[in-house]
């Protein structure tokens, strides 16, 4: 199985690339030009902090033995007693921990103190992510979501996407709206970056989903390895394609136009939804899950305006909603030929599997929601979560990092540096003069 190990090395690098730079660019392009560096930095710093924290306690909390919520935090402290032939497994799981924390940053654009983010990330990883990774990926007999409930989650629909989506929801609530939102729609400043980031995320996601075979079931024959990776690869691909179409269809019906941001968002929504399901379903199931996720998420991202919740880059609408769609639909579309060996509702499996999936979602939502709330409140009343209004209006890049992303007109006295007139300058504007 040397090919399998070679593949895991590449898969691990691919998943790290999903955060640095894919997610950073995807989110960065969607932010405003005065906030793009801060948005990118939130991903980079997550990699640095969570990565080191992972080898210290993350691996041990996730895979250092049995436990309902987490394993033994100090059993494998600093990888004590872990042999180097296990390192690639450690590194692979580490990249998951990194991107989960980084995903949350999309909800806090323009306004979160960088110091508060640097504090939130490690605390949240220890209290929320590392245990959730144990509950889902470790799959010991006692582990809550995989072991006890028996919910299927191939690559992290619950532990990564629902978890990050709920945390994003909580942070957006406690941070509050950005100055001027929602009257000012705060449009993305560079959609080409966003498209590039989305494409790189898609590439990286093969490492994420297909690479998750490692922890599924121990030792494989060549045939088993080939058929399972073939399944997860094909499902990941087809669901994503279907989700692009699903998102664009809903967008066309609701707003009359088919947009590039819609296509990029469809890519991510489809990938999120197929993440838990890629091992369990067949290709028809993958297309169905992708199409449903694309359509549902395209509708869901509009809800934040209804609720007055400034989830700036739609982490809730894409990751929480997409994660729930994919995780629950396993109970409908899974086949006994898949990795879990369970027939879903559509294949005569009855409601049992669907119930387990729903329960798994509820546990993930509750665990993440309650504990993230505690962490957010603790930071809010000590360090404070938010930069002051002047700093936010002037731009968080300048206030928190002392930099600006673009220098497009050095030498000119004024090059339209404020950007606020752009929305009101249209060659088609009819004026009564």
């Amino acid at each position: 199985m040397t090919g399998y190990y070679a593949f895991m090395l590449i898969a691990t690098a691919l998943v790290l690339m999903m955060t640095v730079p894919a997610l950073a660019l995807f989110y960065g392009g969607m932010s405003r030009s005065k906030s793009v560096l801060n948005m990118i930095m939130m991903s980079f710093i997550s990699a640095a902090i969570v990565g080191i924290l992972y080898v210290a306690v993350g691996w041990s909390m996730g895979f250092g033995g049995d436990g309902t919520f987490f394993a033994k935090p100090f059993e494998l402290f600093w990888l004590d007693g872990v042999t180097t032939d296990t390192y690639i497994g450690v590194m692979f799981q580490m990249t998951f921990a990194i991107i989960t924390a980084a995903l949350i940053s999309g909800a806090v654009a323009d306004r979160m103190k960088f110091s508060a983010w640097m504090l939130f990330v490690p605390i949240w990883s220890i209290i929320v992510y590392f245990p959730m990774a144990h509950m889902v990926f470790s799959c010991t007999d006692d582990s809550l979501i995989c072991g006890r409930i028996g919910a299927q989650d191939y690559a992290g629909g619950t532990a990564v996407h629902i978890n990050a989506g709920v945390a994003a929801l909580v942070l957006a609530i406690f941070l509050g709206k950005r100055v001027g939102w929602p009257r000012d729609k705060m449009r993305p400043h560079n959609l080409t970056l966003t498209m590039l980031g989305a494409g790189m995320l898609w590439l990286g996601w093969y490492g994420f989903n297909v690479g998750s075979i490692v922890f599924a079931d121990g030792v494989y024959s060549d045939e088993q390895f080939l058929s399972e990776t073939g399944r997860t690869f094909a499902n990941t691909t087809l669901a994503t394609m279907a989700a692009i179409l699903g998102w664009l269809l809903v967008e066309r019906l609701l707003h009359g136009k088919v947009t590039s941001l819609g296509a990029a968002s469809g890519v991510v929504a489809g990938l999120v939804a197929i993440t838990p399901a890629c091992g369990a379903v067949d290709i028809e199931g993958a297309v169905a899950i992708g199409a449903i996720a694309g359509a549902v998420c395209a509708w869901a991202v509009g809800l934040k305006f209804k609720f007055g919740l400034d989830d700036s880059l739609d982490v809730v609408g894409v990751h929480l909603v997409g994660g729930i769609v994919g995780t629950v639909l396993i109970g409908v579309f899974s086949t006994s030929e898949g990795a879990g060996g369970i027939d879903g509702l559509l294949y005569g499996g009855g409601l049992g599997s669907l119930g387990d999936q729903v329960l798994g979602v509820l546990v993930a939502v509750t665990y993440s929601g309650v504990l993230t709330t505690v962490i957010a409140l603790a930071i809010k009343f000590t360090l404070g979560l938010r930069i002051d209004e002047d700093a936010e209006v002037g731009g968080i890049d300048l206030a928190e990092h002392g930099e600006s992303a673009y220098d497009l007109h050095s030498g000119s006295i004024s090059g339209g540096a404020t950007g606020v007139l752009a929305a009101h300058t249209s060659p088609l504007a009819k004026e009564e003069v």
């Binding site: 009257r183 002047d390 600006s404 540096a417 606020v420 003069v433």
Partner: protein, 112 residues
């Protein structure tokens, strides 16, 4: 007739435009400008090298108004653009001799 010129914080422009429209101002000239008052600029650092950015971005609004409306328009701009913090800007009023609407040749009040 008077020319009211206001230099304000960029994020206040929407509020000011709305308030002036509600009052009945039908047109204005708006430009993105840079300058400095007591606020001065800020410093950026790239790999240890410091760059002093002396100019602060602002929005300049110019409106020609009837004498009777001058105080109201100035009042609206000041009230709406005020945050009470440094860098809120300035408003000044200058006399205007003649205004002509290019399309029709209308003069002065008729051209407003």
């Amino acid at each position: 007739m008077k020319l009211v010129t206001a230099v304000i914080k960029p994020h206040k422009w929407e509020d000011v435009r709305e308030a002036l429209e509600t009052f009945g101002v039908t047109g204005m000239t708006v430009s993105e400008v840079s300058g400095y008052g007591r606020q001065k600029g800020h410093t950026e650092v790239y790999r240890g090298a410091e760059y002093d950015i002396a100019l602060v971005p602002k929005i300049r609004i110019e409106i020609v108004v009837d004498d009777n409306d001058t105080d109201d328009v100035v009042g609206i701009v000041v009230k709406t653009a005020q945050t009470g913090r440094i860098g809120d800007g300035k408003v000044w009023v200058s006399p205007v001799d003649t205004v002509i609407r290019v399309r029709t040749g209308d003069k002065d009040e008729a051209a407003l």
